[in-house]
Amino acid sequence: MSALYGLMAEFDNPEDLVDAARRAYQEGYRKMDAYTPYPVEGLADAIGFRRTRIPLIVLIGGILGCLSGFYLQYWISVISYPLNVGGRPYNSWPSFIPVTFEMAVLFAALGAVLGMLGLNRLPMPYHPVFNVPRFALATRDRFFLCIEAADPRFDGQRTRWFLESLNSRGVSEVEP
């Protein structure tokens, strides 16, 4: 059956899942993912996911916010319509710090959240893994490992044996 998204093994506890993931990686599987009800230490590394770009995005957001925030105020009070306010200089930069700071924070925070959603390709209400009935437990107390058919080393039968070999509670096919 070519129309297969992948094979999914179910585990009782995080430890087994992590081992399984590590083994699968050694087997040379690359296109796979693990699903857990809470963030499990070291799992991402186990399936070969090393670094995220989130911090960089946040940094850029922060810098952008900072600059735009200050320039907005500078432009308004010095260039667009300079007014003598209580004898203060047009460019009263000390008074401009709070807004600058808030803008930096705002942009950075937006960067973090949107970055996370974006990189995770969320929202994605439909996903093949949801086709597996027992996958509902992935948000409760079960742990899953899914090797995708797209993986070059994927072979329906061999992969199934492989997954069963890792002490999983069972392996189910994932319709696309």
């Binding site: 306010v85 209580g86 200089p89």
Partner: protein, 975 residues
């Protein structure tokens, strides 16, 4: 809701009355009557008026909804440029005496009153009544139709009825005809009355003013054996003794006297001279607050004090009573007066009995004051009479049923007549009663006919000033409510109903003017606001020898509590009761608004167990009145002062129900004061609203004062009290000063605290009236306020006044905190307030150390009443709800002057711009000008060693600064 609440509520929506037929016609009339012969001023004004109205409507309604129509003239009136105000000279008669005015008129709508610099009683200043008169003019509560026993009628029907009565009277030579007027100085009116009395030989003319000058007249009569008018020259006087005269506070010449008096107190650098003022009075007055030595005496004790002084000065038969506690004071005063022989004077108050006036005349005589500091002339009144006596006779005749036709010309005797005469009661015995008045008041309620009176700004007339100078009153607008002037009523009474006020006055002057070329002189008189050569010449009068002995035995001051009656400082005898501006203006010393109170000294209050706002029952000669108590530091002990004029029952929506009616206690034989008052506590409370609760300066050097001696020793004493940070002391580069640098200086040594500036500002800047309840919540809108502080012992405190407008700080705290930049700094140093940008955070007010900012907590401005719209100054935005406002240094005047100057490619001249408060100030205490011009009057004042900034320590760098107050105490008298 209490009645008062109701009043204050309805105050802001006065449209119903204004909705009457002719008023609507006046306002909505979109066409002017054809101008018959352009020169005739009446019809010219008429036309302006109508035009004004329609344009106004367009403009005003535009405040809310876009006005789509513009309405041009059909025929343009000459000498009127739309958009430019015109000024007309006239005068305001009060108690018969005139004070000259210049009235600003926009498209035929009089909007603002200024003093007439040419006029001897004004010299460019006005009092609060003058300022407020323009509001009375437009007051929609004024009576607007002729009524017959309360039902609508018409002038024509009235004339018919009048003619019937005339015929009757003709048969009996007018034996049943009585005429009741106030004091008459108008030559024209006098002439009319004379001819009327000629026609009806046995008719009688009575005069009555609730605030009469009978005692002054009687006193002079005693002293000189004839009716004499006395004029004081305070500018010539170095030592002045004021026997409860309050000559700065009121009277026909008070503005003139203020100017003269303060002129004698101005000091520059170097060796300086300053006059010295002694005041003896029962209730502190603004004159008392200016005194170098003030002695609080019960009104009844003033006489004996006067006798002591007189006796020390060698007046015969002064027969001072037994030695008293104040003998040294009297001694010292007498010596001081004597030392300045020829440059000293004594002035007695109108409330003091004739004998005190006589004594004053005697003293002035011995001081050789006559011709120097005191001048006598023939009486100004057309017919000086003892008015109280005159009224008594009238009542007698009414009682005896001898009166068939009583014509009451102005005034409100039913309300103001002394209780014991029972005027109202006897009035009912008169067959036909006619009342001419501005309002349908207590009197008109008891009259068959009520004729709406034309306001003095609506009518032709003439009147004399304190020195006899005649002003011809010209109308600025045709009668808004179809009112008639006294002249027109008199003419009708004389069967000449066809005559217009204009004709009557003009005819009189054509006959009696003794002018070579009438038309020319007439125009000049109208233009100048006075008739040349009508001032009464000084005349020498001799004291009758021994008059004191024969006619006036010394009177013992009565025992027990004393009650003293005073005209109210803001609503006078009650005739201004329906004027919102005057009602809301804080009384000069108590700072009370919307109410009168029984004023007592702290000691007396303690003795009687009274506190502020406690309601007491005042029992006096069988009558009793409930009144709230207000404790008055410096008031004489065992004496209670009440102000007349409140407690109106038919004043209008503003005045009705405010305060208590002190007339109910007043008797004819002792109209001003007498002992024998009883006070009973009721345990009730009545909330009085005072705009200033805290009267101590908390030793904060807000008002800096010193004696003349201190000043001569150290001219800079005022500046050394508090260090103001040097201008260089800042991290900021600061903004370059380009062009003008506007600023203001206020001379506390001149300011007498009369509060005229408050009203002038209100009139100029369209400041709304908020009513008692709002004022009580600290929401009064006055842009300039006069702070009053006491210093020293409560029984005899030093009293200080300090006018506080916006300081226009160079480092304005208000500007920094405004989130929308609705208040920022102008290049010429103005602290600008842009109403239309304001969102109303009130942050600026919180951050203003001077608390001069005012906020529209509700829709205070009246957007509905058409007549009140017509009063507004078209050059000042009418602020709506939720907007902050404050003193702008009259920026509209600044801009107008700048524009004129720019057009002529010149700089604005020094003194060209005069703010409203400066213009009105009789003491010339306020000076506005350009700091960047070193020769400007302002710059010189700023260089004065007495110049200091309020709260300088905050480094706000105010553009408004103060000149320290000086005192000139007599070393012989301990502080």
């Amino acid at each position: 809701m209490t009645q008062k609440d109701a009043r204050n509520k309805t105050w802001r929506s006065l449209d119903e009355l204004a909705g009457t037929a002719e008023f609507q016609r006046f306002l909505e009339a979109e066409f002017p009557e054809p101008a018959s012969g352009g020169t005739d001023p009446v019809s010219r004004r008429d036309l302006l008026k109508v035009m004004g109205a329609s344009l106004t409507l367009a403009g005003m309604t535009a405040c809310r909804t876009p006005a789509e129509k513009i309405v041009p003239y059909v025929r343009a009136p000459e000498d009127l440029v739309p958009g430019k105000p015109l000024f007309f000279a006239t005068a305001m008669p009060m108690g018969g005496f005139a004070k000259g005015l210049l009235v600003e008129s926009h498209l035929g709508r009089p909007t603002k009153v200024e003093g007439n610099p040419e006029h001897p009683a004004s010299l460019g200043a006005t009092d609060v009544f003058g300022q407020a008169s323009v509001l009375t003019l437009y007051d929609p509560d004024r009576s607007q139709v002729v009524t017959r026993v309360g039902r609508l009628s018409s002038w024509m029907t009235f004339l018919a009825a009048l003619n019937v009565a005339r015929e009757e009277q003709h048969l009996k030579k007018g034996a049943g005809l009585r005429l009741l007027t106030g004091t008459v100085t108008s030559p024209t009116l006098a002439e009319q009355i004379r001819s009327l009395l000629a026609e009806f030989s046995s008719a009688k003319w009575h005069q009555f003013e609730p605030v009469s000058r009978d005692h002054a007249r009687a006193g002079a009569h005693v002293a000189f054996g004839q009716d004499v008018n006395t004029i004081y020259r305070f500018d010539q006087a170095q030592v002045i003794l004021d026997l409860e005269a309050d000559f700065l506070g009121w009277g026909p010449a008070n503005l003139r006297y203020v100017r003269d008096f303060t002129a004698g107190r101005r000091v520059g650098q170097g060796p300086v001279a300053m006059n010295r003022l002694y005041v003896v009075e029962s209730c502190p007055s603004i004159t008392g607050s200016m005194a170098d030595h003030r002695l609080g005496l019960r009104a009844g004790e003033v006489e004996s004090f006067a006798r002591k002084v007189a006796q020390r000065l060698g007046v015969q038969d002064a027969s001072p009573g037994s030695p008293g506690p104040h003998d040294q004071f009297a001694e010292a005063v007498a010596r001081d007066l004597a030392q300045h022989r020829g440059a000293s004077l004594v002035v007695a108050g109108d409330q003091q009995p004739p004998v005190v006036h006589a004594l004053a005349h005697a003293i002035n005589h011995t001081l050789g004051a006559e011709g120097r500091t005191v001048i006598h002339t023939d009486p100004v009144e057309a017919m000086p009479v003892d008015q109280m006596q005159s009224l008594r006779e009238l009542v007698g005749d009414m009682q005896a049923g001898r009166v068939d036709l009583l014509v009451i010309v102005g005034g409100n005797p039913v309300f103001t007549a002394p209780r014991d005469l029972a005027f109202a009661e006897q009035l009912s015995k008169v067959k036909l009663r006619v009342h001419l008045g501005l309002y349908e008041d207590e009197t008109s309620a008891l009259c068959h006919w009520h004729i709406p009176e034309a306001h003095f700004l609506e009518s032709w007339s003439d009147a004399r000033a304190f020195d006899g100078t005649v002003t011809i009153l010209q109308p600025l607008i045709a009668p808004l409510y179809g009112g008639r002037s006294a002249h027109e009523l008199l003419a009708a009474l004389a069967g000449k109903a066809s005559l217009s006020g204009h004709d009557i006055v003009r005819d009189y002057w054509e006959k009696h003017g003794r002018w070579k070329i009438f038309e020319e002189s007439w125009q000049v008189a109208l233009h100048d606001g006075l008739v040349a050569g009508t001032r009464l010449p000084p005349k020498r009068v001799a004291l009758r020898a021994g008059f004191l002995k024969e006619s006036l035995p010394a009177q013992k001051p009565g025992r027990g509590l004393e009650i003293a009656f005073r005209p109210d400082p803001t609503i006078w005898d009650g005739s201004f009761a329906n004027n919102g501006w005057l009602q809301e203006m804080p009384k000069p010393l108590t700072k009370l608004t919307w109410d009168n109170a029984a004023l007592v000294s702290p000691a007396t209050a303690q003795r009687l167990g009274l506190h502020n706002e406690a309601v007491v029952e005042l029992r006096y000669r069988g009558a009793s009145v409930r009144a709230p108590v207000w404790i008055m530091p410096g008031h004489a002990d065992d004496s209670v002062t009440v102000q007349l004029g409140y407690g109106r029952t038919r004043a209008g929506r503003v005045g009705t129900g405010a305060g208590f009616n002190a007339y109910l206690l007043r008797t004819a034989d002792e109209p001003w004061f007498s002992a024998g008052l009883e006070i009973r506590r009721t345990g009730d409370r009545y909330s009085l609203v005072s705009t200033q609760h805290h009267f101590s300066m908390e030793s904060r050097n807000l008002i800096r004062a010193g004696t003349l001696g201190e000043f001569q020793k150290n001219p800079r004493f005022a500046q050394q009290v508090e260090e103001s940070p040097p201008p260089g002391l800042t991290l900021y580069p600061g903004h370059p000063q380009e062009g003008y640098a506007w600023g203001m200086a206020i001379d506390l040594n001149a300011c007498i605290g009369c509060g005229a500036c408050v009203l002038a500002c209100q009139a100029e800047n369209n400041i709304p009236v908020v009513g008692k309840r709002e004022a009580g919540r600290g929401r009064s809108m006055h842009w300039i306020r006069v702070d009053r502080y006491y210093e020293g012992p409560p029984e005899d405190p030093a009293i200080f006044h300090q006018p506080v407008p916006c300081m226009h700080c160079e480092n304005a705290p208000c500007e920094v905190v405004c989130p929308v930049g609705a208040t920022v700094h102008g290049s010429e140093g103005l602290n600008e307030m842009i109403y239309n940008r304001c969102v109303g955070t009130r942050y600026c007010s919180n951050n203003c150390p001077y608390k001069v900012r005012r906020f529209n907590f509700f829709e205070f401005a009246d957007w509905t009443t058409p007549s009140l719209k017509a009063q507004r100054n078209p050059n000042v935005t009418v602020r709506s709800r939720g907007v902050m406002e404050k003193c702008t240094y009259c920026v509209q005047r600044i801009n107008a002057a700048k524009i004129e100057a720019e057009k002529e490619d010149r700089k604005v001249r020094d003194g060209e711009i005069v703010t409203a408060c400066q213009a009105v100030c009789p003491a010339q205490a306020i000076v506005f000008g350009d700091l960047s011009d070193p020769n400007s009057r302002l710059a010189r004042l700023k260089a004065d060693p007495r110049n200091y900034a309020l709260l300088a320590g905050l480094n706000t760098r105010p553009r408004t600064t103060y000149l320290a107050r000086l005192r000139n105490p007599n070393p012989e008298i301990r502080g």
